[in-house]
């Protein structure tokens, strides 16, 4: 019997599940290998028990928390899909603001009608077997992980930094062009796609296991970045991994 797979989406842009839909070359083979029983964006049917549940999005309301708990109960393996789910991602930027004020700003006097809770990662709510990082996830990693899961094992996240993939691609390092890049402390797996296309890495895949943040911050500082700029960069996707900049910028 083909393994049953569900794709679920919480607070997110749905770009990660779209990335799955964009697997044009592999789609038919993929459908041959798995049975997709829940994928609201693409299909009508809904299933109930899953071998693998891919969960996209951050958890930002009590209802979402409830729903993800229910999914957890109905699935053998739960994979958090994308930066929203694994890091809080862009959604977590709001946690840096006073949530009360955020609501007031958007809804004015009606703010009390719109409860919002602090953005949470999926693993803050339920146990997760694998975190597939990226904003959006990489097609390659999605396929690799899916195949590995089909073979009955949970893969191990890459121990390497984005720089390794950037070097493999033979890219001109952005630092060489005077642009700061978080590739050295960011977990690989995206193929260094941003540096390859001229953008600096902003760590959408989260940090490596043992990031040398102290050194990275000093480097950013030496490139003329202000405290605010360093903070923006380090929190764009990683608000939930706070970094103490005080020791580097006091004096």
């Amino acid at each position: 019997m083909k393994p049953k797979v569900g794709v679920f989406s919480f607070t997110s842009c749905e770009g990660c599940q779209l990335t799955i839909l964009n697997l044009e070359d592999e789609m038919l083979d993929l459908l041959g290998a798995i049975e997709i029983v829940n994928f609201r964006e693409a299909i009508d049917e809904r299933g109930h028990e899953y071998d693998v549940a891919f969960v996209e999005g951050s958890i930002t309301t009590p209802e979402e928390a409830e729903e993800v708990r229910e999914i957890r109960e109905r699935t053998k393996i739960l994979v958090a899909l994308g930066a929203c789910a694994t890091l809080g991602g862009i959604n977590a930027i709001k946690n840096r603001h006073d949530l009360h004020q955020v609501r007031r700003k958007v809804y004015g006097d009606g703010a009390h009608h719109f409860p919002t809770e602090a953005t949470q990662r999926v693993r803050d709510v339920v146990p997760v077997e694998y975190e597939m990082h990226g904003c959006p996830i990489s097609k390659r990693e999605f396929l690799q992980v899916t195949k590995t899961l089909l073979l009955g094992r949970v893969p191990r996240p890459s121990p390497h930094a984005v720089c390794t993939e950037c070097k493999t691609a033979g890219n001109v390092c952005l630092f060489d062009k005077g642009i700061c890049c978080l590739g050295p402390i960011t977990r690989a797996g995206c193929g260094a796609i941003c540096p390859t296309y001229g953008g600096d890495c902003v760590a959408c895949r989260g940090l490596v296991d043992e990031p040398n943040l102290a050194s990275m911050i000093e480097i950013m500082k030496s490139k003329g970045m202000s405290r605010q700029e360093v903070e923006d960069r380090l929190t764009q996707f990683n608000t939930l991994e706070p970094v103490d900049l005080e020791p580097h910028f006091s004096s």
Partner: protein, 341 residues
């Protein structure tokens, strides 16, 4: 050995002719830097380049190299994948040629690695001598790697409007066999060569505080030096230094499976002793858990371990690791510290 001359005007013709006989790999411009890549049109070739991002040796030892074709339902159906096609590496600087020679030694060492050697045995190297140092970090003068005595098939030296060409191997001579672009060198060419070499020698300078042959012992004495701690504090473990090194060859092996879950490939990927899990074993024990230890291992591997095993340093002085380190960790500075400079 033959001595020939190639007019620069004939380079495009040569490129086209070579491209017809083999896969031609040479330096190409990438933004403001250079990379080795396939040359399909003469204008892609950029022979006047300081250095490339990745060394040409990586062409012989590609990332994600397939080793074994696998059938998941039958191990007995495993088949080797040993690939190679006739390739010409054109415009390889002396240090990089020696980098390739060092890989040759490692992969020929018992037991020999058929994957590398097969690719290598079909590769012709056309070296190109440098006229001046390519960066503030290279150590090729100190290391004696700015000129070549062997390890190449053809060697080109820039004489302004033409290249002086030495043939070194039969394969090299055969390659240019009847091509109309070469003529025998005349006494005037030789004189010009002499002058070019003099200028060249004058432009390279020593960057080390002591003789390079003191390095192995100086490093050994500095095994417990605080230098490593200082370097370790800055190191980001991003692996760039080893990825851009012409003589690094550490790898990992992993299986890739197709969606049919029946066919697969066992591949090797570049790996690096700078990765934090490189020396970790089951149970979590890590034999080189700290960046300081890993940086020390990198230098020791080049200057001590390889030296003791093969009789020469595995650092060819290309300067890439220093030039490309985001944390500004400079090999020459570290060497100078242990040499007491």
């Amino acid at each position: 050995m033959k001595t020939l001359v190639l007019s620069k005007m004939d380079v495009p013709g040569l490129v086209e002719a070579l491209g017809e006989t083999a896969r031609l790999i040479g330096p190409r411009k990438k933004e403001h830097q250079f990379v080795f890549g396939q040359i399909t049109k003469p204008e892609q070739l950029a022979l006047e380049y300081p250095t490339t991002i990745l060394p040409p040796s990586r062409q012989l030892f590609p990332n994600d190299e397939p080793l074994v074709r696998l059938r998941l339902d039958d191990v007995a159906a495993s088949r080797e994948i040993v690939e190679g096609e006739k390739t010409i590496l054109l415009g390889v600087h002396p240090c990089d040629v020696q980098g390739i020679n060092i890989l040759d030694e490692v992969f020929s060492d018992s037991p020999p690695d058929a994957n590398y050697l097969t690719r290598r045995s079909q590769t012709i190297i056309i070296a190109l001598e440098c006229q001046a140092p390519c960066s503030p970090y290279n150590l090729c003068f100190d290391k004696g790697t700015y000129r070549l005595e062997w390890g190449y098939d053809l060697l080109m030296i820039d004489l302004g409007d033409r290249y002086f060409v030495f043939t070194r191997t039969g394969a090299g001579e055969e390659l240019i066999g009847d091509l109309p672009f070469f003529r025998a060198a005349t006494p005037a060419d030789r004189e010009a060569l002499g002058r070019a070499r003099e200028t060249q020698a004058g432009s390279f300078k020593t960057r080390l505080a002591g003789p390079v042959n003191r390095l192995p012992n100086a490093l050994k004495e500095a095994y417990d030096d605080l230098l490593w701690e200082a370097v370790g504090r800055r190191c980001l473990s991003c692996e760039t230094c080893t990825n851009v090194c012409p003589t690094c060859y550490c790898f990992d092996v992993a299986d890739e499976v197709e969606l049919d879950l029946v066919n697969g490939t066992r591949c090797r990927q570049w790996d690096s002793c700078q990765s934090c899990t490189f020396a970790e074993v089951a149970g979590g024990e890590n034999f080189r858990p700290r960046p300081s230890e890993r940086q020390r291992h990198r230098l020791f591997k080049k200057e001590v371990y390889q030296y003791e095993k093969y009789g020469r340093s595995a650092c060819v002085g290309c300067g890439r690791c220093s030039a490309q380190c985001v944390a500004s960790i400079r090999l020459n500075e570290m060497y100078n510290q242990v040499l007491g400079g």
